[in-house]
Amino acid sequence: MNMSGREKLGLALIAVALIALPFVLALAGTAWVRITNFAVLFVLLSLGLNIVVGFAGLLDLGYVAFYAVGAYVYALLASPHFGLHLPFWVILPIGAAVACIAGVILGAPTLRLRGDYLAIVTLGFGEIVRIFMNNLSSPVNLTNGPKGINRIDSFRIGPVNFSGSDTIAGLVFSGPIKYYYFLMLVLLAVIVINRRLQDSRIGRAWVAIREDEVAAKASGINTRNIKLLAFAMGASFGGIAGGMFAAMQTFVSPESFVLNESIMILAMVVLGGMGNIWGVIAGAVLLSFVPELLRYTVEPAQMALFGKLLVDPEVLRMLVFGLALVFTMRFRPAGLWPETRHRREMNENRA
């Protein structure tokens, strides 16, 4: 794809802004860098779920299970729990692979299900995984149950440990800032992969299944395999995100992988615009940041205005969240930034 000079300039500016961002955020407090990192993590998750829900049209309400699988794989292979301390670049691919297998295991029995039924089964799957994590502490202590796994290793590249700060050329690279850059690299790769998949033979097959499964079959698509592939690909992304989550938190427990998280990720995909990568990213960023912004502004604002706390930020958060979804569904059912196959194709034809 050839870009015009304007587009190149725009991209360059965005790149510079993203590179400078963590240092700007750090001025407001390292917490904001952490918040941003979690937002990026959710962008990764949303992009993974987008393959299943947005492209292939398979409603998956248990996506957080793959995030959990990735996180636990990392936790078990890099913590004192088993005394294993593998490097992250070994574990992340293992986590992706294990999550991928979990995706196929979930996908296989659901291939004949559609819509509501599929949603219910995947929801159950998500819960099963969480319950497993909760209970696999005896007779063999695999997951340490509800207590979770502690003291997970941070990333380490040669002498650089992601848990501490390094000063390079007068700039302080705190742990979160290092994770930020790593996350950005992963995000870049995931976006490229997503775009390539979308414009590929497999990507078209996914969308065809979403649009009309019978016609897709009759057109020669092995719908069974192609759906499994969607589950597997989506799950792998979830697994990678989970691994990074474990390393960033240095602690995992089943509590982090509740149904609410699945719903949140799904909401990000739907709010932004199912099927459109940029829409999904926008949705994930929005739904990650707005609650945090509320948390940091609502309380001081109320204190200043009324001298006391009238509405709890947590309540407001759910309110805003619910309203946002209701209004999107009412006024922009295809999402804030819907899929634009149409325009894209037109441009490519002209080029």
Binding site: I202, R204, D212
Partner: protein, 256 residues
């Protein structure tokens, strides 16, 4: 005499108490246009669905190119060389016309996830070939100017053409059209007729369900008539037209 392309032997299909197809046998020869007519509810579409693996059959078998056709999985039927259109148009509405046809190439191409993620040379070459072929087919059916439009935004006649282009993209030996002229005006029907004649010239075998008797009689080499799930006639158009059973079947059922 041309060789046999498809042979259906004693096909039975029931829906609960309804015997939709009863002991239907027919033979389609290579290169011909084979018409399938009958009153509403006679079982024509059901026969299509059986041939393309969408409905499991209750009895009988289908031979294609002399070999038993695996009807378990529709995609294998497509791979074997049978493509179809649907009576109630089934396009991928939110994909462009070009993409719809590109999907049809799926079964003749092989790039997988890794090829796509890495954009390997082979994958890129294949994508370019898919796009080229899809473009050709859009020209062939005469809607190249709509390539970038969403399928659901096309006019009814153009949607029917797009369905044909998508079916052709699978490189079929047999193209099965379920009432392609339904809902078309006279001009569109004439154009469709030209298109189907062109397909025959290019060596394709066509199985055609159609209510438009003039179209069927004018186009088809042979015609089979279904009535209440049974084949009551199979012959050249002139003889079918004169067949008393056929006349009876149609009497009062519609204004043909």
């Amino acid at each position: 005499m041309a060789e046999t392309l498809l042979e259906a032997r004693a096909i039975d299909k029931r829906f609960g108490g309804v015997q939709a197809l009863k002991d239907v046998s027919l033979t389609i020869r290579s290169g011909e246009i084979y018409g399938l007519i009958g009153p509403n509810g006679a079982g024509k579409t059901t026969l299509f669905n059986v041939f393309t693996g969408l409905y499991p059959l209750d009895g009988g078998e289908v031979l294609f190119c002399g070999l038993p056709l695996n009807l378990e999985s529709p995609h294998q039927v497509a791979a074997a060389g049978i493509a179809r259109t649907f009576q109630n148009i089934r396009l991928f509405g939110n994909m462009t016309a070009l993409e719809n046809v590109m999907v049809g190439r799926h079964v003749r191409t092989r790039a997988g996830v890794f090829g796509a993620m890495l954009r390997t040379g082979a994958e890129r070459a294949e994508e370019a070939a898919i796009r080229r072929r899809a473009d050709e087919l859009l020209h062939y059916v005469g809607i190249a100017d709509r390539a970038g439009d969403l399928a659901r935004h096309l006019s009814y006649g153009d949607q029917r053409r797009l369905e044909i282009a998508r079916a052709l993209a699978t490189d079929p030996k047999l193209l099965a059209l379920d009432e392609p002229a339904a809902g078309m005006n006279a001009t569109e029907t004439a154009a469709l007729r030209g298109l189907i004649e062109g397909l025959r010239r290019d060596g394709l075998t066509v199985l055609l369900i159609e209510h438009d008797v003039k179209l069927v009689m004018g186009l088809c080499d042979r015609v089979a008539v279904l009535d209440y799930g049974e084949k009551i006639a199979e012959d050249v158009p002139e003889s079918v037209r004169a067949n008393t059973k056929v006349i009876e079947a149609y009497l009062g059922t519609s204004a043909h």
